[in-house]
Symmetry: C3
Subunit: 157 residues, 3 copies
Protein backbone atom coordinates (compact mmCIF):
# COMPACT_ATOMS: atom_id res chain seq x y z
CA UNK A 1 0.00 0.00 0.00
CA UNK A 2 1.13 3.59 -0.59
CA UNK A 3 1.14 6.23 2.20
CA UNK A 4 -2.33 7.52 1.24
CA UNK A 5 -3.77 4.00 1.37
CA UNK A 6 -2.28 3.40 4.81
CA UNK A 7 -3.66 6.67 6.01
CA UNK A 8 -7.13 5.92 4.75
CA UNK A 9 -7.01 2.42 6.23
CA UNK A 10 -5.99 3.92 9.59
CA UNK A 11 -8.86 6.41 9.52
CA UNK A 12 -11.31 3.69 8.56
CA UNK A 13 -10.11 1.52 11.41
CA UNK A 14 -10.65 4.34 13.89
CA UNK A 15 -14.11 5.07 12.48
CA UNK A 16 -15.07 1.42 12.67
CA UNK A 17 -13.70 1.17 16.22
CA UNK A 18 -15.92 4.08 17.24
CA UNK A 19 -18.95 2.82 15.36
CA UNK A 20 -18.82 -0.67 16.84
CA UNK A 21 -18.63 0.62 20.42
CA UNK A 22 -21.24 3.32 19.87
CA UNK A 23 -23.71 0.85 18.37
CA UNK A 24 -22.99 -1.66 21.15
CA UNK A 25 -21.64 -4.32 18.79
CA UNK A 26 -18.82 -5.28 21.10
CA UNK A 27 -18.42 -8.81 19.72
CA UNK A 28 -17.68 -7.35 16.28
CA UNK A 29 -15.45 -4.78 17.99
CA UNK A 30 -13.31 -7.68 19.25
CA UNK A 31 -12.63 -8.61 15.63
CA UNK A 32 -10.57 -5.42 15.26
CA UNK A 33 -7.93 -6.88 17.57
CA UNK A 34 -5.20 -9.35 16.70
CA UNK A 35 -5.10 -12.53 18.79
CA UNK A 36 -1.97 -11.50 20.73
CA UNK A 37 -3.06 -7.90 21.26
CA UNK A 38 -2.90 -5.62 24.30
CA UNK A 39 -5.73 -3.27 25.29
CA UNK A 40 -5.08 -0.87 28.13
CA UNK A 41 -6.48 2.30 29.65
CA UNK A 42 -4.06 4.51 31.55
CA UNK A 43 -4.29 7.93 33.13
CA UNK A 44 -2.15 10.59 31.53
CA UNK A 45 -0.15 10.97 34.69
CA UNK A 46 0.72 7.30 34.92
CA UNK A 47 1.58 7.14 31.24
CA UNK A 48 3.86 10.19 31.48
CA UNK A 49 5.61 8.84 34.56
CA UNK A 50 5.86 5.38 33.07
CA UNK A 51 3.97 3.90 36.01
CA UNK A 52 2.56 0.43 35.44
CA UNK A 53 -0.81 1.01 37.15
CA UNK A 54 -3.46 0.75 34.42
CA UNK A 55 -7.17 1.38 34.90
CA UNK A 56 -7.81 -1.52 32.55
CA UNK A 57 -5.25 -3.99 31.27
CA UNK A 58 -5.94 -6.87 28.90
CA UNK A 59 -2.70 -8.48 27.78
CA UNK A 60 -4.32 -10.80 25.28
CA UNK A 61 -7.50 -11.13 23.31
CA UNK A 62 -9.04 -13.73 25.63
CA UNK A 63 -8.96 -11.22 28.45
CA UNK A 64 -10.72 -8.77 26.17
CA UNK A 65 -13.32 -11.42 25.26
CA UNK A 66 -13.93 -12.06 28.96
CA UNK A 67 -14.38 -8.38 29.50
CA UNK A 68 -17.01 -8.09 26.78
CA UNK A 69 -18.77 -11.19 28.09
CA UNK A 70 -18.91 -9.82 31.62
CA UNK A 71 -20.31 -6.54 30.28
CA UNK A 72 -23.02 -8.57 28.54
CA UNK A 73 -23.86 -10.40 31.76
CA UNK A 74 -23.90 -7.30 33.92
CA UNK A 75 -26.88 -5.54 32.42
CA UNK A 76 -26.71 -2.62 34.77
CA UNK A 77 -23.71 -1.17 32.95
CA UNK A 78 -25.53 -0.30 29.80
CA UNK A 79 -27.69 2.59 30.92
CA UNK A 80 -26.34 4.92 28.29
CA UNK A 81 -25.33 5.32 24.68
CA UNK A 82 -21.76 6.20 23.77
CA UNK A 83 -20.67 8.58 21.03
CA UNK A 84 -17.03 8.81 19.99
CA UNK A 85 -15.50 11.72 18.17
CA UNK A 86 -12.03 10.72 17.04
CA UNK A 87 -9.90 13.37 15.39
CA UNK A 88 -6.32 14.19 14.52
CA UNK A 89 -5.66 10.62 13.38
CA UNK A 90 -2.10 10.26 12.20
CA UNK A 91 0.52 7.73 11.47
CA UNK A 92 3.38 8.40 13.85
CA UNK A 93 5.80 5.78 12.63
CA UNK A 94 6.02 2.45 10.87
CA UNK A 95 8.58 -0.32 11.10
CA UNK A 96 8.71 -4.05 10.45
CA UNK A 97 5.09 -4.11 9.39
CA UNK A 98 3.81 -2.44 12.55
CA UNK A 99 2.28 1.02 12.23
CA UNK A 100 2.01 3.45 15.17
CA UNK A 101 -1.17 5.55 15.17
CA UNK A 102 -2.11 8.52 17.28
CA UNK A 103 -5.45 10.22 17.65
CA UNK A 104 -7.44 12.38 20.06
CA UNK A 105 -10.91 11.42 21.21
CA UNK A 106 -13.93 12.74 23.07
CA UNK A 107 -16.59 10.32 24.28
CA UNK A 108 -20.08 11.51 25.15
CA UNK A 109 -22.65 9.49 27.01
CA UNK A 110 -26.38 9.88 26.62
CA UNK A 111 -28.95 8.51 29.03
CA UNK A 112 -32.08 6.77 27.82
CA UNK A 113 -33.86 10.05 28.61
CA UNK A 114 -31.76 11.72 25.92
CA UNK A 115 -29.47 13.77 28.14
CA UNK A 116 -25.88 13.97 26.99
CA UNK A 117 -22.74 14.66 29.00
CA UNK A 118 -19.06 14.61 28.19
CA UNK A 119 -17.68 11.35 29.54
CA UNK A 120 -13.99 11.29 28.69
CA UNK A 121 -11.38 13.02 26.60
CA UNK A 122 -7.89 11.75 25.90
CA UNK A 123 -5.80 10.19 23.22
CA UNK A 124 -4.97 6.89 21.59
CA UNK A 125 -1.47 5.58 21.02
CA UNK A 126 -1.92 2.42 19.04
CA UNK A 127 0.02 -0.14 17.09
CA UNK A 128 -1.64 -1.83 14.14
CA UNK A 129 -0.66 -4.52 11.67
CA UNK A 130 -1.98 -5.64 8.34
CA UNK A 131 -3.48 -9.14 8.56
CA UNK A 132 -5.25 -10.78 5.62
CA UNK A 133 -5.75 -7.43 3.97
CA UNK A 134 -7.15 -5.51 6.94
CA UNK A 135 -5.60 -3.49 9.75
CA UNK A 136 -5.87 -4.96 13.24
CA UNK A 137 -4.85 -3.55 16.60
CA UNK A 138 -1.90 -5.28 18.18
CA UNK A 139 -1.81 -2.63 20.88
CA UNK A 140 -4.50 -0.16 21.85
CA UNK A 141 -3.46 2.29 24.56
CA UNK A 142 -6.10 4.72 25.75
CA UNK A 143 -4.53 7.59 27.69
CA UNK A 144 -7.32 9.39 29.53
CA UNK A 145 -7.18 13.01 30.61
CA UNK A 146 -10.46 12.52 32.48
CA UNK A 147 -10.25 10.08 35.37
CA UNK A 148 -12.60 11.35 38.04
CA UNK A 149 -15.38 9.24 36.58
CA UNK A 150 -16.90 6.53 38.79
CA UNK A 151 -18.25 4.47 35.90
CA UNK A 152 -15.01 4.57 33.96
CA UNK A 153 -14.63 0.84 33.80
CA UNK A 154 -17.85 0.15 31.93
CA UNK A 155 -17.86 0.14 28.09
CA UNK A 156 -14.52 0.48 26.32
CA UNK A 157 -13.17 3.91 25.47
CA UNK B 1 -13.15 9.52 -9.64
CA UNK B 2 -10.91 7.10 -7.75
CA UNK B 3 -11.62 6.06 -4.13
CA UNK B 4 -9.36 8.77 -2.67
CA UNK B 5 -11.13 11.47 -4.70
CA UNK B 6 -14.55 10.26 -3.50
CA UNK B 7 -13.33 10.25 0.04
CA UNK B 8 -11.97 13.76 -0.19
CA UNK B 9 -15.17 14.97 -1.87
CA UNK B 10 -17.22 13.40 0.94
CA UNK B 11 -15.10 15.09 3.61
CA UNK B 12 -15.33 18.42 1.81
CA UNK B 13 -19.11 18.10 1.58
CA UNK B 14 -19.35 17.47 5.33
CA UNK B 15 -17.04 20.39 6.09
CA UNK B 16 -19.04 22.69 3.84
CA UNK B 17 -22.31 21.47 5.39
CA UNK B 18 -20.97 22.37 8.84
CA UNK B 19 -19.51 25.68 7.74
CA UNK B 20 -22.69 26.90 6.06
CA UNK B 21 -24.85 26.16 9.11
CA UNK B 22 -22.30 27.54 11.57
CA UNK B 23 -21.96 30.77 9.63
CA UNK B 24 -25.74 31.05 9.27
CA UNK B 25 -25.67 30.87 5.46
CA UNK B 26 -28.69 28.61 5.29
CA UNK B 27 -29.66 29.65 1.75
CA UNK B 28 -26.29 28.44 0.49
CA UNK B 29 -26.68 25.36 2.69
CA UNK B 30 -29.79 24.49 0.66
CA UNK B 31 -27.60 24.27 -2.43
CA UNK B 32 -25.96 21.16 -0.97
CA UNK B 33 -29.21 19.24 -1.47
CA UNK B 34 -30.53 17.68 -4.67
CA UNK B 35 -34.01 18.78 -5.74
CA UNK B 36 -35.65 15.47 -4.80
CA UNK B 37 -33.79 15.08 -1.51
CA UNK B 38 -34.96 14.01 1.95
CA UNK B 39 -33.80 15.69 5.16
CA UNK B 40 -34.84 14.12 8.44
CA UNK B 41 -33.94 14.17 12.11
CA UNK B 42 -34.73 11.05 14.12
CA UNK B 43 -33.98 9.92 17.63
CA UNK B 44 -31.70 6.96 17.92
CA UNK B 45 -34.44 4.89 19.50
CA UNK B 46 -36.90 5.51 16.68
CA UNK B 47 -34.26 4.84 14.06
CA UNK B 48 -33.22 1.56 15.70
CA UNK B 49 -36.82 0.40 16.04
CA UNK B 50 -37.65 1.55 12.52
CA UNK B 51 -40.40 3.82 13.85
CA UNK B 52 -41.59 6.46 11.41
CA UNK B 53 -41.87 9.32 13.94
CA UNK B 54 -39.26 11.91 12.93
CA UNK B 55 -38.47 15.08 14.84
CA UNK B 56 -38.08 16.82 11.51
CA UNK B 57 -39.04 15.44 8.12
CA UNK B 58 -38.65 17.23 4.80
CA UNK B 59 -39.37 14.89 1.93
CA UNK B 60 -38.34 17.31 -0.78
CA UNK B 61 -36.26 20.40 -1.20
CA UNK B 62 -39.23 22.80 -1.21
CA UNK B 63 -40.08 21.70 2.32
CA UNK B 64 -36.48 22.42 3.27
CA UNK B 65 -36.68 25.85 1.60
CA UNK B 66 -39.84 26.60 3.58
CA UNK B 67 -38.09 25.58 6.74
CA UNK B 68 -35.19 27.94 6.12
CA UNK B 69 -37.59 30.75 5.22
CA UNK B 70 -39.58 30.28 8.41
CA UNK B 71 -36.34 30.31 10.42
CA UNK B 72 -35.53 33.63 8.75
CA UNK B 73 -38.93 35.07 9.63
CA UNK B 74 -38.88 33.86 13.22
CA UNK B 75 -36.01 35.94 14.50
CA UNK B 76 -36.27 34.64 18.02
CA UNK B 77 -34.68 31.34 17.04
CA UNK B 78 -31.28 32.72 16.34
CA UNK B 79 -30.05 33.58 19.79
CA UNK B 80 -26.94 31.48 19.46
CA UNK B 81 -24.08 30.46 17.25
CA UNK B 82 -23.64 26.84 16.20
CA UNK B 83 -20.37 24.98 15.91
CA UNK B 84 -20.22 21.54 14.29
CA UNK B 85 -17.47 19.03 14.83
CA UNK B 86 -17.92 16.23 12.33
CA UNK B 87 -15.59 13.27 12.59
CA UNK B 88 -15.23 9.65 11.53
CA UNK B 89 -16.49 10.46 8.03
CA UNK B 90 -16.55 7.34 5.90
CA UNK B 91 -17.99 5.89 2.79
CA UNK B 92 -20.14 2.97 3.84
CA UNK B 93 -21.19 1.76 0.41
CA UNK B 94 -21.70 2.88 -3.14
CA UNK B 95 -24.03 1.57 -5.82
CA UNK B 96 -25.66 2.91 -8.98
CA UNK B 97 -24.03 6.29 -8.54
CA UNK B 98 -25.32 6.76 -4.98
CA UNK B 99 -22.78 6.85 -2.18
CA UNK B 100 -23.67 6.11 1.46
CA UNK B 101 -21.78 8.23 3.99
CA UNK B 102 -21.57 7.92 7.74
CA UNK B 103 -20.16 10.35 10.26
CA UNK B 104 -20.40 11.31 13.93
CA UNK B 105 -21.10 14.86 15.02
CA UNK B 106 -21.14 17.10 18.07
CA UNK B 107 -22.88 20.48 17.87
CA UNK B 108 -22.10 23.22 20.37
CA UNK B 109 -24.16 26.34 20.85
CA UNK B 110 -22.80 29.63 22.07
CA UNK B 111 -24.91 32.49 23.36
CA UNK B 112 -24.23 36.07 22.35
CA UNK B 113 -22.61 36.44 25.78
CA UNK B 114 -19.99 33.89 24.70
CA UNK B 115 -21.12 30.95 26.82
CA UNK B 116 -20.89 27.58 25.11
CA UNK B 117 -22.78 24.38 25.85
CA UNK B 118 -23.00 21.04 24.16
CA UNK B 119 -26.22 21.01 22.17
CA UNK B 120 -26.41 17.63 20.45
CA UNK B 121 -24.36 14.58 19.60
CA UNK B 122 -25.29 11.87 17.17
CA UNK B 123 -24.51 10.60 13.75
CA UNK B 124 -25.28 11.12 10.08
CA UNK B 125 -26.35 8.41 7.66
CA UNK B 126 -26.45 10.09 4.30
CA UNK B 127 -26.79 9.32 0.64
CA UNK B 128 -25.04 11.55 -1.86
CA UNK B 129 -24.82 11.72 -5.63
CA UNK B 130 -22.50 13.41 -8.07
CA UNK B 131 -24.32 16.14 -10.01
CA UNK B 132 -22.51 18.45 -12.42
CA UNK B 133 -19.20 17.65 -10.83
CA UNK B 134 -20.16 18.14 -7.18
CA UNK B 135 -21.60 15.89 -4.48
CA UNK B 136 -25.16 16.66 -3.36
CA UNK B 137 -27.24 15.12 -0.60
CA UNK B 138 -30.15 13.05 -1.83
CA UNK B 139 -30.80 11.90 1.71
CA UNK B 140 -29.57 13.41 4.96
CA UNK B 141 -30.59 11.46 8.06
CA UNK B 142 -29.55 12.94 11.38
CA UNK B 143 -29.83 10.36 14.15
CA UNK B 144 -29.64 12.19 17.45
CA UNK B 145 -28.48 10.66 20.71
CA UNK B 146 -29.51 13.84 22.52
CA UNK B 147 -33.23 14.56 22.44
CA UNK B 148 -34.12 16.18 25.74
CA UNK B 149 -33.53 19.58 24.21
CA UNK B 150 -36.46 22.00 24.03
CA UNK B 151 -35.05 24.10 21.21
CA UNK B 152 -34.16 21.10 19.09
CA UNK B 153 -36.25 22.17 16.15
CA UNK B 154 -34.43 25.44 15.50
CA UNK B 155 -31.38 25.52 13.18
CA UNK B 156 -30.53 22.34 11.29
CA UNK B 157 -28.22 19.78 12.84
CA UNK C 1 2.80 18.14 -4.46
CA UNK C 2 -0.56 16.98 -5.78
CA UNK C 3 -3.87 17.99 -4.10
CA UNK C 4 -3.99 14.84 -1.94
CA UNK C 5 -0.47 15.46 -0.66
CA UNK C 6 -1.32 19.05 0.26
CA UNK C 7 -4.42 17.89 2.03
CA UNK C 8 -2.55 15.29 4.03
CA UNK C 9 0.19 17.78 4.87
CA UNK C 10 -2.47 20.23 6.09
CA UNK C 11 -4.11 17.60 8.29
CA UNK C 12 -0.75 16.55 9.70
CA UNK C 13 0.09 20.15 10.51
CA UNK C 14 -3.17 20.55 12.41
CA UNK C 15 -2.63 17.29 14.27
CA UNK C 16 0.88 18.29 15.21
CA UNK C 17 -0.30 21.74 16.29
CA UNK C 18 -2.83 20.11 18.63
CA UNK C 19 -0.40 17.52 19.91
CA UNK C 20 2.33 20.01 20.77
CA UNK C 21 -0.01 22.23 22.76
CA UNK C 22 -1.75 19.31 24.47
CA UNK C 23 1.55 17.78 25.54
CA UNK C 24 2.84 21.17 26.71
CA UNK C 25 5.74 21.23 24.23
CA UNK C 26 5.26 24.89 23.42
CA UNK C 27 8.85 25.45 22.33
CA UNK C 28 8.41 22.83 19.62
CA UNK C 29 5.01 24.34 18.85
CA UNK C 30 6.82 27.59 17.96
CA UNK C 31 8.66 25.70 15.23
CA UNK C 32 5.37 25.37 13.33
CA UNK C 33 5.41 29.12 12.66
CA UNK C 34 7.34 30.97 10.00
CA UNK C 35 9.59 33.76 11.24
CA UNK C 36 7.34 36.54 9.92
CA UNK C 37 4.09 34.94 11.06
CA UNK C 38 1.00 36.37 12.73
CA UNK C 39 -0.85 34.60 15.56
CA UNK C 40 -4.09 36.11 16.73
CA UNK C 41 -7.18 35.19 18.73
CA UNK C 42 -10.37 37.11 17.94
CA UNK C 43 -13.96 36.78 19.03
CA UNK C 44 -16.38 35.80 16.33
CA UNK C 45 -18.20 39.11 16.66
CA UNK C 46 -15.08 41.18 16.16
CA UNK C 47 -13.97 39.05 13.25
CA UNK C 48 -17.35 39.33 11.53
CA UNK C 49 -17.48 43.08 12.04
CA UNK C 50 -13.88 43.48 10.98
CA UNK C 51 -13.02 45.12 14.30
CA UNK C 52 -9.33 45.26 15.12
CA UNK C 53 -9.63 44.36 18.83
CA UNK C 54 -7.95 40.98 19.26
CA UNK C 55 -7.83 38.98 22.50
CA UNK C 56 -4.27 38.02 21.60
CA UNK C 57 -2.17 39.49 18.81
CA UNK C 58 1.39 38.49 17.98
CA UNK C 59 2.51 40.11 14.76
CA UNK C 60 5.80 38.26 14.55
CA UNK C 61 7.43 35.15 15.88
CA UNK C 62 9.46 36.97 18.56
CA UNK C 63 6.22 38.12 20.17
CA UNK C 64 5.08 34.52 20.15
CA UNK C 65 8.39 33.41 21.69
CA UNK C 66 7.96 36.00 24.43
CA UNK C 67 4.49 34.72 25.06
CA UNK C 68 5.67 31.14 25.50
CA UNK C 69 8.51 32.29 27.75
CA UNK C 70 6.16 34.25 29.98
CA UNK C 71 3.88 31.22 30.23
CA UNK C 72 6.91 29.21 31.34
CA UNK C 73 7.78 31.78 33.98
CA UNK C 74 4.25 32.14 35.30
CA UNK C 75 3.75 28.69 36.70
CA UNK C 76 0.28 29.39 37.94
CA UNK C 77 -1.15 29.19 34.44
CA UNK C 78 -0.58 25.53 33.96
CA UNK C 79 -3.10 24.00 36.31
CA UNK C 80 -4.73 21.94 33.62
CA UNK C 81 -4.20 19.74 30.62
CA UNK C 82 -5.53 20.75 27.20
CA UNK C 83 -7.09 18.45 24.65
CA UNK C 84 -7.79 19.66 21.11
CA UNK C 85 -10.25 18.08 18.74
CA UNK C 86 -9.75 19.62 15.33
CA UNK C 87 -12.16 18.60 12.59
CA UNK C 88 -13.43 19.69 9.20
CA UNK C 89 -9.92 20.60 8.05
CA UNK C 90 -10.00 21.89 4.52
CA UNK C 91 -8.02 23.82 2.01
CA UNK C 92 -10.04 26.91 1.19
CA UNK C 93 -7.78 28.39 -1.45
CA UNK C 94 -4.22 28.54 -2.64
CA UNK C 95 -2.31 31.20 -4.47
CA UNK C 96 1.31 32.23 -4.93
CA UNK C 97 2.50 29.43 -2.72
CA UNK C 98 0.25 30.38 0.21
CA UNK C 99 -2.49 27.96 1.18
CA UNK C 100 -5.60 29.00 3.14
CA UNK C 101 -6.81 26.40 5.63
CA UNK C 102 -10.01 26.26 7.62
CA UNK C 103 -10.95 23.98 10.49
CA UNK C 104 -13.25 23.78 13.49
CA UNK C 105 -11.95 23.03 16.96
CA UNK C 106 -13.08 22.16 20.46
CA UNK C 107 -10.63 22.47 23.34
CA UNK C 108 -11.23 20.65 26.63
CA UNK C 109 -9.39 21.35 29.83
CA UNK C 110 -8.79 18.80 32.55
CA UNK C 111 -7.70 19.63 36.08
CA UNK C 112 -5.02 17.64 37.86
CA UNK C 113 -7.90 15.96 39.70
CA UNK C 114 -9.07 14.55 36.36
CA UNK C 115 -12.17 16.68 35.87
CA UNK C 116 -12.78 17.78 32.31
CA UNK C 117 -14.75 20.75 31.03
CA UNK C 118 -15.28 22.25 27.63
CA UNK C 119 -12.99 25.27 27.40
CA UNK C 120 -13.50 26.78 23.96
CA UNK C 121 -15.03 26.08 20.59
CA UNK C 122 -14.42 28.03 17.42
CA UNK C 123 -12.60 27.86 14.15
CA UNK C 124 -9.22 28.41 12.55
CA UNK C 125 -8.61 30.48 9.45
CA UNK C 126 -4.97 30.00 8.64
CA UNK C 127 -2.43 30.66 5.96
CA UNK C 128 0.42 28.22 5.51
CA UNK C 129 3.45 28.01 3.26
CA UNK C 130 5.84 25.26 2.29
CA UNK C 131 9.33 25.93 3.67
CA UNK C 132 12.16 23.41 3.31
CA UNK C 133 9.69 20.63 2.67
CA UNK C 134 7.31 21.28 5.55
CA UNK C 135 4.21 23.43 6.00
CA UNK C 136 4.53 26.38 8.35
CA UNK C 137 1.95 28.86 9.57
CA UNK C 138 2.39 32.35 8.22
CA UNK C 139 -0.92 33.35 9.76
CA UNK C 140 -2.91 31.58 12.44
CA UNK C 141 -6.25 33.21 13.23
CA UNK C 142 -8.28 31.62 16.01
CA UNK C 143 -11.87 32.83 15.91
CA UNK C 144 -13.49 31.90 19.21
CA UNK C 145 -17.20 31.37 19.71
CA UNK C 146 -16.61 31.06 23.46
CA UNK C 147 -15.32 34.22 25.10
CA UNK C 148 -16.79 34.36 28.58
CA UNK C 149 -13.76 32.55 29.93
CA UNK C 150 -11.62 34.32 32.52
CA UNK C 151 -8.50 32.24 31.86
CA UNK C 152 -8.71 32.63 28.11
CA UNK C 153 -5.31 34.17 27.74
CA UNK C 154 -3.35 31.25 29.16
CA UNK C 155 -2.15 28.45 26.84
CA UNK C 156 -2.64 28.92 23.10
CA UNK C 157 -5.86 27.75 21.46
Amino acid sequence: MNPTDWREAAEDLMAEYADLIDSDRLEAWLDLFAEESVYQVLTRENFDQNLPAALILCTNKNMLRDRVMSLRNANEYNLHYDRHLISNVRIAAGESGILSLKANYAVYQTTFEGQTTLFSVGRYEDKVRLESGRLLFVEKTVIVDTFSVPSLLATPL
